[in-house]
């Protein structure tokens, strides 16, 4: 069996795009652009998220993010982070598409949709999220939508045509990991019912590699993260850990883990221990 035919190497398909890496990495919060570039490289990701912001018209002596992202190597997924209404998110998505059109990047036409509720929790606003999803799909977008871990909301978003539903493990940047594995697994069950290849990505909340492995073990198709790498003491090493965790978690899922049991089950034979008396 060649590695290409092993199930853990099957590509992830989202909206007609075929991705060999199941890790999507954000480009925010790195101490330097050089560090970001090296961390992205170590993560093995093919898709990177970016934000859309006003040009700084004064004192802009800094260098551009795009000087540090090889747009031939990476597919850019623009987000609508910072939008607190469906209307703003739709405008930002359209501006992002225009930017990626200018760059001739395959990311033009898809969007990581976020419609947030408030600056403290950054939890998604479900009403605005559903509204913006519908509007953007009608406008021809492939919508990868950030949502809470509510299985009913996840199903609603799929029903209106989201290319991928991306439930949060825990609040953005919180590093709390997958707080409600039951809900994530219910999201997966509902979204994949009769449609096993429907892509579901756990987005937000990752703190360490174990969180990534947990999400993948639950059956997620991929994980999207940013802060856990960018703010680690050693971002490049953490990026490498995340890469390994994606693979380990996916292989563990495919291998089929044992069910949890209440009591112990000895791995060594209980008979023929010294002092064992047959019949007792």
């Amino acid at each position: 069996m060649t590695t290409a035919t092993q199930p853990q190497h099957a590509p992830l398909r989202i909206a007609g795009r075929e991705l060999s890496s199941r890790l999507v990495v954000g480009t925010g919060k790195y101490a330097t652009f050089d560090l970001m570039r090296d961390a992205l490289d170590a993560s093995g990701c093919e898709v990177v998220t970016v934000a859309v912001r006003r040009e700084r018209l004064y004192n802009d002596q800094g260098r551009s993010l795009l000087e540090f992202i090889d747009t031939d190597r990476y597919t850019i997924l623009p987000n609508t982070a910072g939008c607190f209404s469906a209307d703003d998110a739709v405008r930002v998505a359209r501006l992002g598409r225009e930017l990626l059109d200018q760059l001739d990047n395959p990311g033009a036409g898809w969007v990581k949709l976020e419609v947030l509720s408030d600056t403290k929790t950054l939890l998604p606003d479900p009403i605005g999220t559903l509204e913006a999803t519908k509007t953007l799909i009608a406008d021809g977008f492939d919508v990868l939508v950030y949502t809470s871990d509510d299985p009913v909301m996840a199903r609603r978003l799929k029903e209106v045509g989201a290319a991928s539903v991306m439930p949060a493990g825990s609040p953005i940047g919180s590093g709390q990991g997958v707080l409600n594995p039951l809900n994530i697994s219910l999201c997966l069950e509902m979204l994949k019912e009769g449609d096993a290849d429907y892509p579901v990505i756990v987005d937000a909340g990752v703190g360490g590699a174990s969180d990534v492995a947990t999400a993948m073990e639950l059956g997620a198709d991929g994980v999207l993260l940013n802060t856990a790498i960018a703010n680690a003491d050693n971002p490049v090493l953490m990026a490498s850990a995340m890469r390994g965790a994606i693979e380990a978690g996916r292989m563990s899922r495919l291998a089929g883990r044992i069910p949890k049991k209440r009591y112990a089950s000895a791995s060594s034979p209980m008979r023929d221990t010294i002092g064992w008396i047959p019949g007792e």
Binding site: G26, A51, L57, N79, L95, L99, L103, L224
Partner: protein
């Protein structure tokens, strides 16, 4: 005439196209998306889109984000 660019009021010569404004602001040669009165104007239309008094523009680019 006065237009609003990224929230700031700006005096510009009339007539002026979006392409000319971007050139004046040093943004013509870099990735920059333009929204004019809440509608995106594709780059190919920048030279032929003329601005009018009171127009509101958003000039945006890509930055790091998650």
């Amino acid at each position: 005439m006065q237009i609003t660019v990224n929230g700031d009021i700006r005096d510009v010569e009339q007539p002026i196209s979006i392409a000319a404004l971007l050139l004046e602001m040093g943004l013509r040669d870099r990735p920059c998306a333009v929204e004019l009165n809440r509608e995106v104007v594709p780059r190919a239309q920048h030279p032929t889109t003329t601005l009018a008094e009171g127009d509101r523009l958003e000039l945006v680019t890509l930055v790091g984000g998650g």
